[in-house]
């Protein structure tokens, strides 16, 4: 085992963790915290890209923490899916860190915004890189505790109300996850995911195994915001500071999706099971209910929150169809979605800075005043709706093509209709916020002049990434394809972790 490589896996967790510790130590100095924050997220992104390159070239990377051999110790495993997620975390983290410089108030910086943000990133990356199911639970909790505190930063009434629902449902989900882990340990006597996969493979029909799989489905379904478990999401995501909203929107639900992808390809491969039928139904309902919820809303960030749910449906559809092409589509969709979604939330914050409201009815005429903001909105918005040649088109196209090949016509129909309704929602925002005249008697007013340079810079960078994924769809597709073949090859993962014993 080459230990230089092991450091690559560690850095994406260690950098944010160290940044959290450092910024806690320097909590008296704003400038230091800001510097640490930008440097650490930049470092995180570089480390993540290095890790991805290494995994792409050399296959799955494994690190045995504390030098305990698997399956006895905790292993960190970076396969392509994990590495891609870590890169996306790096991108979102850096974007948020820079955006925060311009938007987070002094009081909140003093209250511990930066340490919490880094702790959240550490938790998210830990979840992506661990190869141990109990360790996954621990990282989930690290991420949750940080997100709880970030959610109520500001202390407004809406934040408290949203946070209570968020905290309750997420804790219920955690308890279910923990119960499932406990039962699984009782069944298999191991917690290492590779070892679990190997031990459970001959017993997939055992009713107890099915029950545990179902518990995982519900627990991760809540985290991912899948139908009918998503109600905490639209109640809370529009309440915190925009930078926080954007970080949550980009990453948190995707950790749930990642966990579903991991557990249902490795430990409980879907095959022709009841769970697969359930997931198919959930995917369709999630898409439809999310987009219909969005259609009824007139608050910028609430529309976007409901669209997160609807988009989760596409990713679940990719997983549930469980064909190679569908998994490719799911992975592609995740890559596209994280960047677009974070960006849309950041743009809603930019509009708030320009006009002082999130209410569609109070806003108007942004395009006339600031044409470039309109263009910047259109890129991710149309990408979300799936217009070619932007990134969303390819994501939707692959998933739907997989649906056609698997002959799930009803699901394909739902996906297509939802695409149209997404376009309707985005056009609604465009018409209300950017196109129409500023309504008379509007209470909206400019919040603060200047200081939008950093905000615009971040938005431009993320928008160009969206365009890039669309233009360079072929290499991204190749990456997703390699990821999917890794996911559909559990023995490869098992051998990488436990050593080739055949």
């Amino acid at each position: 085992m080459n230990h230089g490589m092991a450091l690559d896996i560690l850095l994406p967790i260690l950098i944010p963790l160290a940044a959290a510790a450092l910024s806690l130590i320097c909590w008296r100095s704003r400038a230091l915290q800001r510097g640490i924050s930008v440097m650490a997220t930049t470092g995180l992104m570089v480390a993540a890209v290095v890790l991805l390159v290494r995994v792409y070239d050399n296959g799955i990377q494994v690190m045995y923490t504390g030098n305990w051999p698997a399956p006895f110790g905790i292993v960190l495993v970076a396969d392509l899916l994990g590495a891609i997620m870590v890169v996306l975390t790096g991108i979102t983290g850096l974007a948020t860190a820079i955006y925060s410089l311009a938007t987070i108030s002094k009081a909140h910086e003093h209250y511990g915004y930066y340490p919490l943000m880094h702790l959240l990133l550490a938790g998210v990356n830990g979840a992506f890189l661990t190869g141990d199911i109990f360790n996954l639970y621990v990282w989930f909790e690290v991420m949750l505790v940080a997100s709880f505190a970030l959610l109520i930063l500001g202390g407004e009434r809406a934040q408290m109300e949203g946070a209570i629902k968020y905290v309750t449902l997420n804790l219920v989900s955690s308890a279910m996850f923990l119960s499932a882990v406990g039962l699984l340990y009782g069944l298999a006597g191991t917690l290492n995911m590779a070892d679990l996969a190997e031990k459970l493979a001959p017993h997939q029909d055992n009713p107890m195994v099915q029950i545990v799989a179902m518990l995982f489905l519900v627990a991760f379904g809540i985290k991912a915001g899948a139908f009918p478990l998503f109600f905490w999401l639209p109640a809370s995501y529009h309440t915190p500071r925009v930078a926080v909203s954007s970080l949550f929107a980009g990453l948190l639900t995707k950790v749930g999706v990642y966990a579903l992808f991991r557990v249902f390809t490795l430990i409980f491969p879907l095959g022709d099971s009841l769970i697969r039928d359930l997931l198919l139904g959930m995917a369709g309902a999630t898409m439809l209910v999310g987009v219909l919820g969005a259609a009824a809303q007139f608050e910028f960030r609430r529309i976007l929150s409901f669209h997160i749910i609807s988009q989760i449906g596409y990713m679940l559809m990719g997983l549930a169809l469980f064909t190679p092409l569908a998994i490719i589509g799911g992975v592609f969709y995740i890559m596209h979605h994280i960047i677009v979604k974070s960006n849309l939330f950041l743009i809603s914050g930019l509009v708030y800075r320009l006009q002082g409201s999130y209410d569609l009815k109070q806003l108007g005429g942004v395009y006339r005043q600031h044409p470039w903001v309109g263009i910047l909105f259109l890129i991710p918005a149309l990408s979300l709706a799936g217009l070619p040649p932007l990134s969303g088109f390819f994501g939707k196209f692959i998933v739907i093509k997989a649906g056609v090949e698997a002959e799930f016509w009803w699901l394909v129909a739902v996906a297509l209709v939802v695409g149209l309704l997404t376009l309707y929602s985005m056009i609604k925002i465009w018409a209300e916020v950017f196109w129409k005249e500023m309504p008379e008697g509007s209470t909206a007013s400019v919040q603060q002049r200047g200081g939008t340079g950093l905000m615009v810079g971040t938005v431009v960078a993320l928008a160009s990434l969206t365009v890039l994924i669309g233009v360079a769809a072929e290499p991204v597709y190749q990456l997703a394809s390699a990821t999917a073949s890794q996911l559909l090859d559990p023995p490869g993962y098992i051998n990488a972790v436990l050593g080739d014993r055949s």
Binding site: L14, L17, A18, A20, A21, L22, L24, G66, N67, G112
Partner: protein
């Protein structure tokens, strides 16, 4: 409450003053013996935090803050930093993160003393636990006043 001291029990105050140093000592004992017997950084940190909270109950929040001398947030930061640092020595020796390193010291009168990075980790945890509990409880207590 006009004068918080009015409501306080004499018994609590007197025993409290005696208990405080004992509890702190006990917490250190718990921290140090954790590797061979039940104990450790977490439980030791809880005992220490409980001792300070007891002090807060029979005096007041300001006095408790003075007693701790440093801001609980500093404890949190340093504790986290120490815990991370304890994982690093292994890396420099070409072993994976968190590999424990031990060395034996010959202490006169006591015999061999085995110290290692897990103790460092536990000290980190100890500080983080005190920091977390105190940050939360002192903030809550201040909000009550």
């Amino acid at each position: 409450m006009n004068n918080p001291r009015q409501h306080q029990s004499l018994i609590l105050r007197v025993t409290g003053y005696f208990l405080l140093p004992l509890l702190i000592l006990f917490s250190l004992f718990m921290l140090l013996r954790g590797h061979n017997e039940p104990g450790g950084g977490f439980i030791g940190g809880l005992v220490a935090a409980a001792a300070i909270v007891l002090y807060m109950i029979f005096s007041d929040v300001k006095a408790a803050r003075r007693l701790v001398a440093v801001d609980p947030r500093d404890l949190l930061g340093w504790g986290l930093a120490i815990a991370i640092l304890s994982g690093l020595p292994g890396l420099f020796l070409g072993q994976p993160f968190m590999t424990s390193q031990w060395m034996e010291l010959d202490v006169p009168m006591f015999g061999m003393l085995k110290v290692g990075t897990p103790l460092l980790f536990d000290i980190g945890v100890y500080l983080v636990v005190i920091g977390t509990v105190l940050t939360i409880l002192l903030t809550l207590a201040e909000a009550e006043d």
